[in-house]
């Protein structure tokens, strides 16, 4: 906490002057379960991409759907919604 602002230096009333700076806050480390994909089963339907509440799924260079682990909180919605069983949730510690 030593490098955090003090009560004298913290922004007045906690105002935020830099738009969109939540991107710097990597929420991926909240995750206890990690989605893992098997692209061989994927038909590129995009349901995981649509349902992800954190916009943490992106389309990779090959047109497949990939997980951005910096922001994926591991909620498991993608695994629940995928109609082809592409995604399984595994414990982070494994």
């Amino acid at each position: 906490m030593a490098d955090l602002p003090t009560w004298k230096t913290i922004n007045h009333a906690c105002l935020v002057f830099q738009p969109g700076n939540t991107v710097e806050y990597l929420t991926g480390d909240w995750r206890s379960m990690r989605p893992e994909r098997n692209d061989e089963k994927c038909v590129k339907c995009g349901e995981c991409w649509m349902y992800c509440p954190d916009a943490a799924i992106y389309i990779d260079g090959r047109g497949y759907y990939a997980v951005d682990y910096d922001y994926c909180k591991g909620c498991g919605i993608c695994a629940r919604e995928c109609p082809h069983g592409v995604i399984v949730m595994v414990e982070e510690c494994e």
């Binding site: 955090l4 602002p5 009560w7 004298k8 007045h12 009333a13 906690c14 105002l15 738009p19």
Partner: protein, 391 residues
């Protein structure tokens, strides 16, 4: 030129708000605040005041609108009372946490139940920790003056905090008094237009009210607490400026015959006028009595209390609010806490009286003060006592 007129105190408050040239008003009517906002809506409708008058469906919405308006950099006013204050209490903490200089007039009134519309100070005391500057007016002239002063205090860049101006419901809000109404030029000379340092602006963006994690919250709260404590100096400065400009003097605690007093009665608001009569009667009887009329409640004027009341033997505190099941009236409690570490401290006797419009006559103050002396001599001081209750 200022003009002295006979005017209802609520209307004088609205006239002051008009002279302060506010940009926005969001309010919901409630007895005994109604005349203030009713008159303001007329002022806007008739073109005497160029402001947005936002009609809302509740006090919660009123304060929410005020928060948005103040965040946009507009000079913002509202008024409420009792249940209305309770309903907006959630938003009060947000207004102060976001450091928005909203000015609110509070016609103080009892909180139900039993259902009642009459006055006491239980509403303001229920939100005493909400982070607002809290000022009590004793007279109609004070309501007029303090309304204009309030904008100057709240909007000062060293302060940027909301301010509540309390006037006793009915006992002050509804009486007609001779009040000196300043003219526009005089008000302009004292109160500059509001130029907000932080305002929501699409060309120069910032975010207000963001989510805060535990590692930041306490720093923000300390910053707010220090700002509220420091506002004391700005309040004094503004009051001194007022005295210089218009001749009327304001202090955190206004004293009457208290310099050599061994028995001082402390009360906030309009009932101090009656207490003054009691002090005169006790002086005639040879008791060295005095009065302390409390004007500034937040920030808590600890040093003023220690200096002004520290010389007395006994202080009678009359609270028009009950801390139900607690350790005494709210003002008495904080006074006791302030004196706890003082080398020399008076006996502090707490009375709860004048709840929900029950009058306290001069004889009542005399009796409470004499009883305080008696308790002090016997060395048996009760936690608190409800005065004037039928046994």
């Amino acid at each position: 030129m200022a003009k002295r007129v006979g005017i209802e105190v609520s209307i004088a408050c609205s006239e002051a708000v008009t002279l302060a040239d506010v940009d926005a008003i969001a309010a919901y009517p409630i007895t005994p605040q109604t005349h203030i906002v009713e008159h303001l809506s007329e002022q806007v409708a008739e073109g005497h005041l160029d402001a947005e008058y936002i009609k809302v469906e509740s006090e919660h919405s009123a304060m929410s609108c005020c928060i948005g308006s103040a965040a946009a950099g507009a000079r913002t006013f509202t008024a409420t009372s009792s249940q209305g204050l309770a309903l907006m209490s959630e938003m009060l903490y947000i207004a102060s946490g976001l450091r928005l200089p909203i000015v609110m007039a509070l016609a103080t009134r009892t909180l139900s139940a039993p259902l009642t519309i009459w006055g006491d100070q239980s509403d303001i005391m229920s939100v005493r920790d909400c982070g607002w500057i809290v000022i009590f007016a004793e007279t109609g002239q004070e309501v007029f003056d303090m309304t204009i002063q309030s904008f100057r205090i709240a909007e000062d860049e060293r302060v940027l905090l909301p301010l509540m101006l309390c006037m006793d419901g009915f006992h002050l809000s509804h009486v007609i008094e001779p009040i000196e109404i300043l003219d526009q030029e005089e008000v302009n000379s004292f109160l500059p237009p509001y130029d907000a340092k932080y305002r929501l602006d699409p060309h120069n963006v910032h975010s207000v009210g963001c989510f805060t994690m535990p590692e930041y919250f306490m720093e923000i709260k300390k910053q707010q607490d220090e700002a509220l404590k420091d506002s004391y100096h700005v309040i004094r400065e503004v009051w001194e400026g007022w005295e210089k400009g218009f001749g009327r003097s304001y202090k955190p605690i206004h004293l009457y015959r208290a310099e050599d007093a061994e028995l001082i009665v402390l009360i906030a608001g309009a009932f101090a006028g009656t207490a003054r009569l009691a002090v005169d009667r006790l002086r005639e009887k040879g008791v060295r009595a005095g009065l302390a009329s409390l004007k500034l409640w937040r920030p808590f004027p600890r040093e003023d209390f220690l200096r002004d009341l520290g010389g007395a033997k006994v202080v009678t505190v009359v609270d028009r609010a009950l801390s139900t099941g607690g350790a005494g009236g709210p003002i008495a409690n904080e006074l006791r806490a302030a004196f706890y570490h003082a080398g020399k401290r008076p006996d502090i006797v707490s009375f709860v009286a004048g709840l929900s419009g029950r009058d306290i006559m001069a004889e009542g103050f005399v009796e409470m003060m004499e009883r305080s002396l008696d308790y002090s001599e016997k060395g048996e001081i009760p936690y608190y006592e409800m005065y004037g209750v039928r046994e």
